[in-house]
Symmetry: C2
Subunit: 404 residues, 2 copies
Amino acid sequence: MQMTEELIQWLGTIGSDSDGGVTRLLYTPSWKEAQEALAAKMESLGLQAYFDDAGNLCGRLQGTDADCSCILTGSHVDTVQRGGKYDGAYGIVAGITALSRLRERYGAPKKSIEVVAFCEEEGSRFPYNYWGSTFMTGAATYQDIEQARDQKGIPFMTAMEEAGFGPGTHGRGLREDIETFIELHVEQGAILEQEQQSIGIVEQIVGLQRYTVRVQGEANHAGTTPMVYRKDAIRTASEMVIAIMNKTEEMGAPLVATVGQMELIPNTPNVIPGQVNFTIDVRHPDGSVLDGACQQLVDTVRSIATQQGREVGIERWMNVAPIAMDSALTDAIEDICQQQELSYRRMPSGAGHDAQIFASYCRTAMVFVPSRGGISHSPLEYTEPQQLEDGVRVLTDLLYKLAY
Amino acid sequence: MQMTEELIQWLGTIGSDSDGGVTRLLYTPSWKEAQEALAAKMESLGLQAYFDDAGNLCGRLQGTDADCSCILTGSHVDTVQRGGKYDGAYGIVAGITALSRLRERYGAPKKSIEVVAFCEEEGSRFPYNYWGSTFMTGAATYQDIEQARDQKGIPFMTAMEEAGFGPGTHGRGLREDIETFIELHVEQGAILEQEQQSIGIVEQIVGLQRYTVRVQGEANHAGTTPMVYRKDAIRTASEMVIAIMNKTEEMGAPLVATVGQMELIPNTPNVIPGQVNFTIDVRHPDGSVLDGACQQLVDTVRSIATQQGREVGIERWMNVAPIAMDSALTDAIEDICQQQELSYRRMPSGAGHDAQIFASYCRTAMVFVPSRGGISHSPLEYTEPQQLEDGVRVLTDLLYKLAY
């Protein structure tokens, strides 16, 4: 049990903030320190560590078969600003622990197994998510990040080169040998905790649509405009928020809708808001259900605008289809949970992960462990050592089944 | 009819912005230019112009009685940033027009009449409203503005002295001779326009209370938190906004309540808002009705928080009592409207004015003329020449009745 927890704490000291959080932004010194420390750790545990040109780090346990295909497991080493110790890091240290145990117990596998520390998933420094996994699978190339700059104006490519990566630096780019990818991750939600389940077997990563709604009213003096003459944009927007929430509950779980961002114009205590803009984020694991739900929410918003005589603009600016995990792998993980007598549930992932990039490249599975209070991207992230260990045991058995 | 409109347009050229607005912030060059031009205009029309130590400008038509008491009319010369040509200015030019006509037609009055251009009402440069009228009536002294600074850090007193005013500069401070104050103003609301009335006879300036409501929910991941586990602060705040509006309508006009400012925390599309803060501005001309209404709104907000299991903080940070105008003057104005066959309505003022400062000093009346679309503090402010003239005719008759 101790190794995974120890590795989590150890990795969490690299890039640690004064308040207990962790900040490892892509290609920064703390990020590089973490990757180099992980490489040394892999080597010390008998894995062959190497970087690719983007900065992804792999630790390889060489297989004995002539077949050069590879089973890959791992997650991302980068964090958000003031993030926690578990998000991303858990998938890497779980992989290191599992490979180390397999090697000790069973020696070399038939198929090669690698643990990966992806260089980037969060997109916290540059406005670009999943660089590590999109680079490795060929879903993105250097062209895709050419224009991206961080908040200081430093180009993505320059930051990569200054960290010692970029075209030709390590002679390793697009992978063509990966047959399976498995990602362990903390849930970042509270479903497993609430339902007291040890393991979440991800069936799909949810689809996601995002909208901006612009409600047009009429700005007016708060003292001299009788209620009956008002065209109050916040009153209309509030009706919309309530209707969106009620409608979403009515359509039922696992559908979720969130109004996370709102702007009042002019936003001053003595002026009736003339305009209110707000976002809607809608997610569901089934693409056609998601489409239907979004349509209903948009219709609801429009119909409130019409009833109240307000102009409304609705713009969809994000539309990501749901992605299914491999059903044979999902079933295999369920079998392992039953054999190990671990409680589990099949569930969608409401958040995006590197696994969604791999799902269109090779067979892919994703396993969740509980996350206390569902808190993530915060110094308060926490998963109990036993829960971390449960995930590692599932991963170890799955890798054994696939590679030995 | 022409004189008032001409004076409005003329005064509007001083401090005019490129987009048709007017900016005359207290003690700035455009403000000083306007006051000096008004002084010259007063002199040219036979009035004796003089400044007091704060920068208020008066144009006096000397009375023949030994009684030294004075009838004062006028309004403020300062504007907001990019304000309109009518707000404040109308009361001054209406007074100049009325005094000029009275002098031409009837010669010297028995009682002295003065038209005043108050140096400040808006508080747009310094965070201090009504300096001109509070200085003149003794409601404020230099001590009250000692700490005030503008956005550039310039102290109020320094700005005053640089404009040529301050203690002892003109040998005129607190007035003790004013027996009546009459202010003409554009409505800054659309009630007269909507009801096609020529004259608004102000009965009270409304009382005003302002609150900040802080709704505490729980920030959480928009994708991984099922609807049923959410503590969504914007959902609760939206219920509160709707209930505030419905309750206010139910309690009935002239009660108004406005949610003008709102802040979501963290305010990002993929996070359920953990906290929402918003303001409520409540106004009514009757103090006890206002108190009761505020209590009901606060109770409504609290009860929604309780129903939804949310913590809520409610803080009152402004409480201004309503102020009644003099009822004998109000009646006299109504008589004049009837004699002149001008349509009129008695009404509260939803906005604050210099008249509210004078109301606790001497008998005070306030007259509104229509304001197109209720627009104020904007280059789009507009009142038709005939409507301006109607107000001047009422003022002229009232001053005749009081002073001759």
